[in-house]
């Protein structure tokens, strides 16, 4: 019985984490490069909508299977475009990143909602991505169902954790990103184009947030509605702080949050009698608690987070 319960919580919680994981990893790159992108939510909205659109239009035709792949591609592209826009505003125009992020969030949410109204018209479902049990692996007792019986995006997202780690710590680009967010002047003096690196990071981060959004509409809810993202972008941003800017930490945060979410739903479903509001609060409380109880980690964040880079302008 408890075995089953634990199994259920884990096997559901793992796929719940994917949207947050993707968006958080993207945001991690942004912040590592020194840009605080509070507009993640807006990018996710656009990704969720534009990812949904091809799947919706190709729903019945012979191209239906490609609709979803196309959807993810379009969502990523939309994310890149939004990232570019944000880069233009915060990197080239050096605007205050906090407000610009709120602006981007409003814009993304609004544009997605407006276009949805015009081109689709009402809450509608799509086929969505079916689960692909990995041959062999999915039959491992207990773990198989938790880790290897999901839709392909789950595997992709989890593979992105080591990939992000490699990208950040083992490639020239990652080195530049880390330098650009910590000591942009040093990077600049060594001939690294700090602003270009930030542009690239924002494009990558945007693409990942877009994918995260599309995961919500194509894999998790398998539908689109105006309010689909419902604040998950803000949580993704917060989880980057939780994960202290490391891919593994971000994964930990995303898993903690979504497992807690899965746990609280299971608690409710199990019929334990107490006001459900407290169950709903659980994931949020847990994230704060874990961070409060964790010893202060040594790794400090990108120290120039939020500071626009300008070679000539000082202090």
């Amino acid at each position: 019985m408890t075995h089953d319960l634990v199994y259920n919580i884990l096997s559901l919680g793992v796929p719940f984490s994917v949207a947050l994981l993707l968006a958080s990893l993207g945001e991690m790159f942004n912040q590592r490069a020194g840009v605080f992108n509070l507009g993640c939510e807006g990018i996710m909205c656009m990704g969720a909508f534009l990812g949904f659109l091809p799947a919706f239009f190709l729903k019945t035709g012979p191209l239906a299977p490609y609709g979803i792949v196309l959807g993810f591609a379009v969502a990523a592209a939309a994310g890149v475009a939004m990232g570019l826009l944000f880069a233009l505003v915060t990197v080239t125009f050096r605007a205050e990143q906090g407000i610009a992020g709120i602006g981007l969030q409003m814009m993304g949410w609004g544009v997605a909602g407006t276009l949805f109204r015009h081109f689709v018209g009402g809450v509608t479902g799509v086929e969505g991505l079916a689960s692909w049990p990995l041959p062999g692996l999915s039959r491992i007792p207990f773990l198989g169902g938790i880790l290897f019986n999901h839709n392909p995006m789950v595997y992709i997202a989890f593979l992105m954790v080591p990939a992000s780690w490699y990208l950040l710590f083992k490639t020239p680009w990652g080195l530049k990103v880390r330098a650009a967010g910590t000591e942009p002047r040093a990077a600049d003096s060594m001939g690294i184009n700090v602003n270009r690196v930030r542009y690239q990071a924002l494009m990558l981060g945007g693409a990942m947030a877009g994918l995260g959004g599309a995961y919500l509409s194509l894999c998790q809810a398998k539908m689109f509605a105006d309010d689909l993202v419902a604040g998950r972008g803000f949580i993704a941003v917060a989880l980057v702080y939780f994960g202290r800017w490391s891919p593994l930490g971000v994964l930990g945060g995303a898993l903690l949050f979504s497992l807690a979410q899965s746990l609280q739903l299971a608690i409710q479903v199990a019929g334990i009698k107490f006001p459900y509001e407290f169950a709903v609060m659980l994931p949020y409380v847990l994230v704060i608690l874990v961070l409060s109880l964790a010893r202060k980690a040594r790794m400090r964040g990108p120290t120039h987070l939020g500071v626009p880079f300008n070679r000539e302008m000082r202090y």
């Binding site: 083992k170 490639t171 020239p172 080195l175 530049k176 040093a186 060594m190 001939g191």
Partner: protein
């Protein structure tokens, strides 16, 4: 990056650069030949760094040209400058603290950047090669934040050499080094001239004299002198720089044994990395004396200053101030009791950069009745205070409403000095008060410290400049590994004795 062609001759012609409201470089022309060391000197804000940043490709000049071996070049980015063999060690270290030495160097070594793969092994090998060739020992795997200032300086040098520099620009490389490190560096640089040319910026004319072949002096962005070093004494150079004679004052007073006002007994204090930075330290500062604290930095100076001012917790032992036990009292309590402090990091500890000069001048005293009625600030009094201090301490700023951070380093130091001395502290702890400050300002700061001494204040002067310590102190204590090794009177102290003590050799 292919190895750059040798630079036989570098010629700057008519370089002009302006910043909003300031002409930083005004029609500057100069020339460096192969194997030559050119010293560039001038007061704070004269435009030295700006000129060199132009040469390093960071800034674009508004007018003027750079020519290498007679061929005109244009540097749009630092990459272009590196490609032509120009490397610069900047005034403020350009290192990423949370990366290793190898990673820091790899950042600029583009030839080791492969697609999706960073060849750190190759970079590491290159570092080892350069460090052996130039005898600059370094641990390539250490994180930069773990290194001392001297080691970081070495990393900067190695980094620049790894990139294949033919012309090395060094912007105040010695301002944060210990005397030993400085001597070391100068020696190495001398040897390097066999292979490369050097432009060397410093406020210490002794070094200029020792190292350089030629000197160029900048004043208000323009070259006012350009000649051979050997033809001029440091005093002459100082006069050329400031336009007047500079005399660093000396402590000529008699050794008066006043009462001890600031005492540390068996002090044990932990440093940032958790070890005991102070390990049973004993020290007394008397009224009316300057006690110099000599020592190689990193031996507990910073921790001592912070423990005495209440900024760092004391594990055991006592701090007594004015005969009261003040161990582990808050900084506010120490300030209220009359302790003054000139901290090491003037930009972030000494002032609030975004506050105006007048606000910075009352940073410690704003709650006192002089500057507030109960909780309401007396803005008029604060402004008057600022004007009078500005005049008496010769603080150069456009107005006392300018942001503190916009002042030059020397002037920031004057603001701090003015604030601390105007409080007429019973005791003053002064840490590296003249680091990176030009001769004129040094003279002023020294004379102010002496004036405070005459007025009966006790001063703890922490410095690595033996010159400064010997000029100003009544007694000199030498700190080594968190303990006072020995205290000498100024009459006993000689350069040699102090040097041995600082190295830990106690007779």
């Amino acid at each position: 990056m292919a190895k750059a062609q040798p630079i036989h001759e570098l010629q700057l012609t008519g370089i002009t650069k302006r910043f909003p409201g300031i002409l930083a470089c005004n029609n500057v022309s100069m020339r460096v030949a192969r194997g030559e060391v050119l010293a560039l000197v001038g007061e704070n804000g004269a435009g030295k760094s700006t000129l060199m940043n132009i040469l390093a490709g960071l800034y674009q000049p508004d007018a003027g040209t750079i020519a290498i071996n007679g061929e005109e070049v244009r540097f749009h980015t630092p990459n272009d400058a590196y490609a032509r063999g120009i490397g610069m060690v900047h005034q403020n270290f350009m290192l990423v603290p949370n990366m290793t030495v190898t990673e820091n160097v790899a950042l600029g070594l583009k030839q080791h950047h492969r697609f999706m793969n960073l060849d750190l092994k190759a970079t590491r090998a290159r570092i080892v090669e350069v460090s052996e060739h130039h005898e600059l020992p370094v641990n390539p795997d250490a994180y930069v934040w773990q290194l001392s200032v001297g080691e970081q300086q070495r990393v900067e040098l190695i980094k620049t050499l790894c990139f294949g520099a033919q012309l090395l620009i060094l912007d105040e490389p010695t301002s944060a080094l210990t005397p030993q490190e400085t001597d070391d560096l100068i020696d190495r640089l001398k040897r390097m001239t066999a292979e490369l040319s050097i432009i060397f910026i410093s406020h210490k004319l002794q070094e200029v004299k020792e190292l350089s072949h030629r000197v160029a002096i900048l004043r208000h962005g323009a070259v006012v002198f350009n000649g051979r070093t050997e033809d001029h004494t440091p005093a002459e150079l100082a006069a050329l720089m400031t336009g007047r004679e500079v005399h660093l004052p000396r402590n000529e007073g008699l050794l008066v044994e006043g009462p001890a006002i600031l005492e540390a007994r068996d002090l044990k204090v932990r440093g940032d990395r958790g070890h005991f930075a102070l390990d049973g330290l004993n020290l007394e500062v008397h009224a009316g004396e300057i006690l110099g604290l000599a020592g190689v930095s990193g031996n507990g100076q910073r921790e001592l200053a912070e423990a005495l001012t209440g900024l760092r917790p004391v594990e055991s032992g006592t701090v007594r101030f004015l005969h009261k036990d003040m161990t582990n009292k808050s900084p506010a309590a120490m300030i209220a009791a009359g302790l003054g402090y000139i901290p090491e990091d003037r930009h972030h500890e000494g002032i609030v950069p975004r506050f105006t000069v007048k606000e910075n001048l009352v940073l410690k005293d704003f709650p006192t009745p002089r500057f507030s009625w109960s909780v309401v600030l007396k803005l008029g009094e604060i402004a008057r205070n600022a004007e009078s201090l500005k005049a008496s301490f010769d603080i150069r700023c456009s107005s006392t409403s300018a942001a503190g951070g916009s002042l030059s380093g020397g002037n920031i130091q004057k603001v701090i000095l003015a604030r601390e001395l105007a409080r007429e502290p019973k005791a003053l702890i002064s840490v590296y008060p003249t680091r990176g400050v030009d001769m004129g300002a040094q003279e002023f700061i020294h004379s102010q410290l002496l004036a405070r001494r005459r007025a009966g204040g006790g001063i703890l002067l922490i410095s690595e400049e033996l010159e400064e310590i010997m000029n100003l102190s009544d007694r000199i204590a030498v700190i080594y590994k968190g303990r006072i090794l020995k205290v000498l009177t100024s009459l006993e102290a000689t350069r040699e004795k102090l040097g041995l003590l600082m190295a830990g050799v106690a007779e």
